[in-house]
Structure formats: C-alpha cells, structure tokens
Amino acid sequence: MDTDFIDIGTVEDVPVRGSRLVKTPDATIAIFKTMEGQIFAIEDKCPHLSGPLSQGIVHGNRVTCPLHNLVIDLANGQADGPGGGPNGKCVKTFPIEIMDGRILLKPFDVPSEKVA
C-alpha cells in the first residue's frame, strides 16, 4: 500500500458544490466537490487574511472566500486578479486520488524522508 495516500472517506460524503474538512497536525485541509463531481484538496486558509475557504460558495472549479470574497482556483490554489492574489501568494494544494468511490489524500509533504 502506498502509505503516502490516506483513505479519508467516500466521494459521496462531500456535498456537491460544497466541502468537508480533514484535520492534520500541520494544517486543516478542505476537500471540495464541484458541480461536475470533481474532487479537490486545498489548505483551508485564504492567502489574504486566512479565511476558512471551506465555508465559501463553490462555483465552477473555484471558491469565493467567505470573509472578503477573494476567488481561489481549486485546481492550482491561485487567486483571481492581477498577480494571483495578495503578494502573489497562493493556497497550498494537496494530491488526491479517487479509487472505487473513495478519496485518497496525500496530506503530508515529505512523509518518506520523515519516516527514514
């Protein structure tokens, strides 16, 4: 088994145009599901003033932050607007795999090194 990826639940568990949270020691990760059923995982933290993106409205492949309406692309974590958001910062994204309707998430950056 690929230990990098962790089974966090089923695709059905995430509401369409909505999100669910996965808490990890490093970060809170928001798992989004779009209208088309695509799943994305990004850090639940807006690059502007750390708003919880999971609480935003999902439209297309994007989410609007509930605090000050910054729009974030779920696929690459980039913000709308010139320079890609405040200070050019973008939201951290996490690798996802879907197997038999289950969501596998790779929540940690460098697990293999740490294990070693």
């Binding site: 962790i6 669910r20 996965v22 808490k23 990890t24 750390s50 609480q55 297309g60």
Partner: protein
C-alpha cells in the same frame, strides 16, 4: 382674475396625455381641464402592453400619469365614462351616463378601434381584440388555463400578442392572410427571417390563410376554420388585423370625417373650436398608428392651444417589434418603384439582414433584422434626405463603418449632429439630452427618462442614451442604470426577477439555462440572489439550495474573522427571563464562550464558538426555549422595543407587546437584505424607530408607521408610510410593505434603497391607498410564512445538514513521522 377657458378632452390615451404635458409646460394655468376616459383607469403607455402580456412588466410599470398627477395639475378626470354626443351649438359634451361638460375648446382624442373581421362567429365569447388593458387581462386569464390560442394577423400587434401568449404557456398559432409576416414593414426576405425566429420560439405560423369562420362549442369559441379546409382548434382567438380611427362621435356631430377625423396642419377640425389628435385623425390623407407621429401632433396642438403658432406637416415613421429576443427595425418606404435601387446585406448564419431603398442617392426606406444598432442613424438619414453618394459603397455597414470612424458605438453617437434623433417615440434629439445631462447634472438613464422623456416609451433607445451619458460624463458615468447581476449574465436584477415569473422558472439550473448564463453554475454573487428570488417567488414549491447561500445562512450563525461563529438567540421584542439568561450563562461556561455581548438590537451575542460545537450549543439553548435569532440572515433580524404602557409614564400604547407580536408574526421570512424594526411607545422614540427599515411610533390616536430608514453605511431618517388606528391594521401595513419589498427589491438592496428606486409615493399608494392590494400582499406573506417558520437550529440539532459541522477525517493524532 379672468375666468379660465374650459378645455374638454375626449379620450385619455398617449396622444392627449402628451398634449397635456406639453400644454402644462407652456401655460400651466391657461385652461380649466376636464377629461372623459372610456377606459376606467389613468393614462398608460399602450405600446408597452406587450411586455405586460408577456409578464415582463406589470401594469403599474407602464402608468404614465397616476391619480396624483391629475390632482396636482387640477385636472378633472372622468374614468370609465364614454362620451355619447357632442352638441357643437351649445358647446357641450355628454357621456353615456349623463355626465356633461361645457367647453370653449374641445379636443377629440378618441383613438382607434381594432378591426374585427366580420366572419361568422366573430362575436363569440373567447374572441378577443388586442387594444387595451382589458384585452390583455382577458388574454392573461385565458392563458392561465393553458390550451390553444389562434392569433389572426401576422403584423406587429399579432406577433406581439402571439409571443406574449406563448410566454404565458399557451400553444399558439398565427394565421396571416399574406404570404409573409409584417409585409407592410418588411420585404419578403426579412419576413422569412422573422418567420424562422417566430417558429423557433415554438409559435406555429400559417401564411396565405384566409379565415372563413370561427366555430362554436358550448356557446364559446372552439376553433378557426380556414378557407382551404383546415380547422384549427382554439380556446381563444385574438384578432389583430388592424385598427381603424374611431370617428363615430365626430361624424355624428357633423364634423368632416374621411377615414379619420379630418384636420388641417394646426390639427383643427372643420369646427374651429374643435381640434383632434392621435390615431383618430386623418391628416393630409394619412392615418397614423405609431406613437412618434402622435407625439409630434400632440406637441403641435399644445402649442396652438397655448396661443403659439405651430404646424404639423406629417411624419416619417419607423417601427420596432417588441418581442424579447427578436430584433427588427424598419423605417420609411420600401415598396418597389421606378427609379428606386436597393442595397442588401445578408449574413444568414449570423441572422443579420439589412436592406436600404435608395432614390436619387437618398435613403427612403430601411429594414434591419438581427443587428438593429444602426436603426437611429439610418432613420436620421431618411428624415434629413441626406445625399449618401459619397459613402454609398459602405453605407450598408452602418455608421461606424460608413463614416470612416472606428466601430465604436460611442464614437458613432458622438458623430451624430445635435438635432439627430435619439428617441423616436418621443422625438427627442441628441442636443436636448446632452443639454439636460449637463444642466441638470443627470447621472443615469432614469434621470434622462424623467427629465427629457427620451427612452421613456418603448425603451429601445436606452443603449443610445447610455452612450450619450458615457460621452457627456466620461468615467463618471456608471452604467448602473441596469448593471448586470454579475459576470455570468448581461441581465440586471430587475429583468431576472421578471423573467423568473414570466418564464415560470423554478430552479437555479432552469434560470441559468433559459436566461443563457455564461458560466456553468453561476458565481458567489448570482447564486444567493437567484436562490432568494426563487424562494420569494415560489413559496412552498422551490427547494432552498443550501450550497447557494452565504456561509452565515448555511450554518445559521455569523462567521467571525478567525473562522469561529457567533450565536444570537431570539429574544422576542428584546424581552428575556431568568431561565433564558441562566441557559445562556450555562452555555457560556460549558463551551468556553470567550465573549458575551449585548447588541444594538437588544439581543445577547455569544462570540467565538467553534463550528463543530454549534449543534450542541443550539441544543442547550433550544432546551430553554430559545430559537435562532436570524442575526446572520437576509431576514427579519430584530424588533427593538421600549417598555410602553407597561411601565413608562409617557407610553401611549403597548409598544413591547406589539413589538413581540410583529416579531412572532414575521420571524423566519427571508428578505432581499436584512430587515430591522422597532416600536416606540411615544414620540420620544426610545427604541430609535426612525432609523429602522420599518419603525412604529405609537401615539394617542394609534400607530404612525415609518419606513425606509437606515443607520449603517448610510444614515437616513425614515419617512412616514401612513397611520393606523388599531394594532391589527398597523400589523397588516407593516407586513404588506415588507412583502412588497420582498417581491420587488433586488438582492442585497435595503428597504431605503428600494424605496428610493421605486419611489416612496408609489409604495405609499400601494400600501395605504389600495387596501385590496395591501390585503393581497398580507395574504401572500402569510402563505410564504407557512414554509419558513421552522427553527433552523432545532432542525440541525435533529441532525439536518450534519456533514456541515463534522470534519470528514481527523488525522491530528496521526503523526507524520510515524
């Protein structure tokens, strides 16, 4: 003071309405004015009946002069009184019911009547004309039962009637005697394009079809028999084959009458004391059925009545078809004739067709289909008889191209001369509009409409007016006249609200599909707005879309800057008890609530609650009888009260009890923006009712009801809506005004903004003067409350939307290094 001359007007359509405006502008006190109107109502914009039929507008939207206008101008209006005869010797007119008025000057404005083909069955119930609001009402009523409609006549009116009935859900067939539609305005090719567009809307078209008879079943219409043997079943038949001037009473009175009432260039009939204006007139052998010439006549007649010299020499006319989604413009004369040439541009795949008819290098006729933006320019060239030989090669491409200027619509308008006509209906030139914008400091289309009348009739020149605003104001012009809802559509909030009703749209995907949204599933701006509009329009039918709500309304608490939430339980009218306070104290301890605050609306706010804890917090509060305070919603927030007659030595009514009653009646209702109310027990106004969305000031004689205040981003005192002598009446008024706001306002538009947009007076009329309407609004609010007075906290305590509050997985104890 000299006795004022008596002016009597027979008819109250658009022509005399405009004539009066022009007259009052010139000499406001010259005449003692009396109007007889056969229709039982005020003056309205008849050319906008089609949008009323298609439900894109309401009757109120198209009123030109309301009752107040007549009162303010000291005009006697006899509604619903048809004039039966004119005694020219005695100078008296008399209505059918005996009401009489004597005149010094008489104006006949009897308009026209629809032409009814005298086939067998033409007088059966269910056979309608398309002329006034009564006809529209009859069609709307018929359409409520669905079924089949046959429209006889494929001209302007017939097609507009057909489109309206089709939008109302009927199965519509248009039958037309001629080979192509609108053959008086369009050539064969454009007629064909039009037919395709009409058929694409689902309306069947039969041309060269001659009606033989209208068949009957059970005493009403059953179908239309065509000469070729076909029988079309029909639940209603609309005859829209043309109009004829109404000149009966003029003829009876011995005036010279041809096809219409004969007038000279001063609009005088064969009797110098009698003038005529509008569709009833025959001038230089012409009868007109379009608004622009009528308005030109009105202006001439007003000048003459005011003692000025003016003459009317006839009009060149242009028409536009008012069917949403079909763009068609025609002007002038385009019959084939010796010495005439034509230039035609066709782009079938884009559905564009243009045809210009030339005579001696001058344009005499123009037909535009698809892209009609150059209509005004061509019309201007026709009216001026401009020699176009120098731009003949490119003129068909329109002004942007032919003039050598870039293809920029603003530049095109900039190139128009000052006397270039912008508004065809009202004959308003560019110079007049630009001057008004400059002198009066107008900022938007509404302002231009109000002060110049440009774009106030059919509205098709709105784009040109906007360009003039841009030209005059530069970047200061915010085309907020009709800003689109968001980047996903070009439609403004008002259009979307109307179309939801007109097209019977009941889900967000339906709205997006039908109104051609450009994004797959909207955005954070339009989805909450659409969710509200659907909820407010279809109570009980529409299923709330939680994912289209802002987070606060989704989780029924207010998100804070750190991602925690605040919780405000409802305290009816600001009254609480020891038990409630104890429960709040216990919750504070149990969930380590960091801040407990008393709000400006007399409630207690628990701040800093973790999202996962919300259902448990609510469960504890529910157990003490506390429910959601909706402090997070576009909804009724709070009703602030003072202690009134319960305790206060100045109190005049039970302000606390009334506040609680209002809150218990209205809580849970969703509104376009937040709604805050207050009830003060006396004019000392301790609950600050005069800066609320709706406020009540109790007085000895009852309740003074205020609305449209604000104390947020803007500070605004309320205005008085009206007075109620009982608490029941006061409640009915408050509920009705809230319902009107729910039905009319744009999403996120506070009550004071809405009132400023639609006009405080119109709100007052609908709520205070029109008691029937008020009761209907009240009933609609009550109906929608059946589906909204459910405590959202209790539902979630029961497990509703549980996924919102639970993490999908908790990996915090799983160390990365393990």
């Amino acid at each position: 003071m000299p006795q004022r001359q008596k002016l009597v007007i027979v008819g109250n359509g658009m022509a005399p309405g405009r004539m009066l405006e022009e007259l009052l502008k010139r000499s406001p006190r010259a005449y003692d004015i009396t109007i007889f109107n056969a229709e039982p109502r005020v003056n309205y914009d008849r050319i906008m009946l089609s949008p009323v039929l298609s439900a894109e507008k309401t009757f109120e939207d198209i009123i030109i002069h309301d009752d107040d206008w007549y009162a303010a101008n000291d005009i006697t209006l006899h509604k619903g009184k048809r004039v039966a005869r004119i005694d020219r010797d005695a100078k008296v007119v008399e209505a059918e019911d005996g009401t009489a008025a004597s005149y010094d000057r008489l104006v006949l404005a009897t308009g026209s009547s629809p032409f009814i083909i005298p086939v067998p069955g033409h007088d059966l119930p269910g056979v309608l004309a398309y002329r006034d609001l009564d006809d529209v009402d009859a069609m709307v009523e018929a359409a409520e039962h669905g079924g089949k409609a046959v429209v006889i006549g494929g001209g302007l009116l017939g097609l507009e009637a057909a489109a309206g009935l089709q939008m109302r859900g009927m199965d519509v067939t248009v039958i037309h005697l001629m080979p192509t539609l609108m053959e008086r305005q369009l050539d064969t090719a454009a007629g064909h394009l039009l037919r395709q567009a009409v058929e694409a809307r689902g309306i069947k078209v039969l041309t060269e079809a001659n009606t033989q008879s209208i068949t009957e079943k059970d005493g009403k219409v059953a179908g239309v028999q065509i000469e070729d043997g076909r029988l079309l079943p029909a639940d209603i038949v609309v005859m829209a084959v043309g109009i004829k001037p109404s000149s009966g009473i003029a003829k009876d009175a011995g005036l010279t009458v041809g096809r219409g009432i004969s007038v000279d260039d001063t609009l005088c009939t064969s009797d110098p004391a009698v003038s005529a204006v509008g569709e009833c007139v025959e001038h230089r052998g012409m009868c007109y059925g379009l608004v622009a010439p009528l308005y030109e006549m009105a202006k001439t007649l007003a000048a003459n009545l005011a003692g000025e010299e003016a003459s009317y020499t006839g009009s060149v006319t242009s028409t536009k078809l008012k069917v949403t989604g079909i763009n068609l413009f025609s002007a002038g004369d385009f019959a084939d004739a010796e010495g005439r040439e034509e230039i035609v541009l066709r782009d079938a795949s884009n559905g564009v067709y243009r045809r210009l008819v030339l005579e001696d290098n001058r344009i005499v006729g123009a037909v535009l289909y698809g892209d009609v933006a150059d209509g005004a320019w061509f019309f201007d060239l026709i009216k001026r008889s401009t020699d176009i030989s120098e731009m003949r090669d490119t003129v068909i491409f329109g002004q942007g191209f032919a003039g050598g200027t870039p293809l920029d619509p603003t530049a095109a308008v900039a190139a128009l001369p000052d006397d270039g006509e912008i508004c065809g209906c009202n004959g308003i030139c560019k110079g007049t509009i630009v001057e008004a914008i400059g002198e009066l400091g107008l900022k938007d289309v509404e302002g231009v409409r109000m002060h110049t009348k440009a774009s106030a009739s059919c509205g098709s020149c709105t784009g040109l007016v906007e360009q003039l605003l841009t030209l005059s104001l530069g970047d200061d012009y915010d085309p907020a006249g009709v800003p689109p809802m968001c980047g996903c559509t070009d439609l403004g909030h008002g259009d979307v609200r109307r179309l939801i009703v007109a097209k019977n749209l009941k889900t967000i995907p339906d709205v997006m599909q039908e109104l051609e949204w450009t994004s797959s599933c909207g955005c954070a701006k339009c989805r909450p707005a659409l969710n509200y509009y659907l909820l407010a329009t279809w109570p009980g039918e529409y299923t709330d879309d939680n994912q289209s709500r802002f987070i606060n309304e989704r989780v029924h608490a207010n998100i804070q800057k750190d991602g925690t939430y605040s919780v405000v339980p409802r305290m009816w009218g600001g009254i609480t008890s020891a038990d409630e306070l104890r429960a709040i104290a216990d919750v504070t301890d149990k969930f380590n609530v960091p801040t407990v605050k008393v709000t400006g609306g007399q409630r207690i706010d628990l701040l800093g609650i973790q999202k996962e804890d919300l259902p448990a917090v609510w469960a504890d509060l529910n157990a003490a009888g506390l429910v959601s305070g909706h402090a997070y919603g576009k909804a009724l927030r709070t009703v602030k009260t003072c202690v009134g007659t319960d305790w206060c030595r100045f109190g005049t009514q039970d302000s606390t009890g009334f506040g609680i009653r209002i809150e218990k009646f209205m809580w849970g209702s969703w509104t376009p923006a937040k709604v805050k109310m207050a009830v003060s027990g006396c004019p000392r106004n301790c609950s600050e009712a005069t800066c609320k969305d709706v406020g009540v000031i109790c007085v000895d004689s009852g309740y003074e009801i205020h609305f449209a205040g604000a104390a947020g981003l803007e500070i605004k005192g309320t205005v008085v809506l009206g007075h109620a002598s009982t608490e029941d009446e006061a409640l009915e008024i408050i509920v009705a005004v809230t319902q009107l706001y729910r039905e009319q306002a744009y999403y996120l538009e506070r009550i004071h903004k809405w009132a400023a947009r639609v006009g405080v007076d119109t709100v007052r009329e609908q709520i205070m003067d029109d008691v029937e309407r008020r009761k209907a609004l009240f009933e609609r609010f009550c109906y929608s409350q059946k589906f909204s007075q459910i405590d959202p906290w209790a539902e979630r305590v029961q497990g509703d939307q549980a996924h919102e509050f639970m993490p999908l997985a908790d990996l915090t104890r799983m160390q990365a290094a393990e």
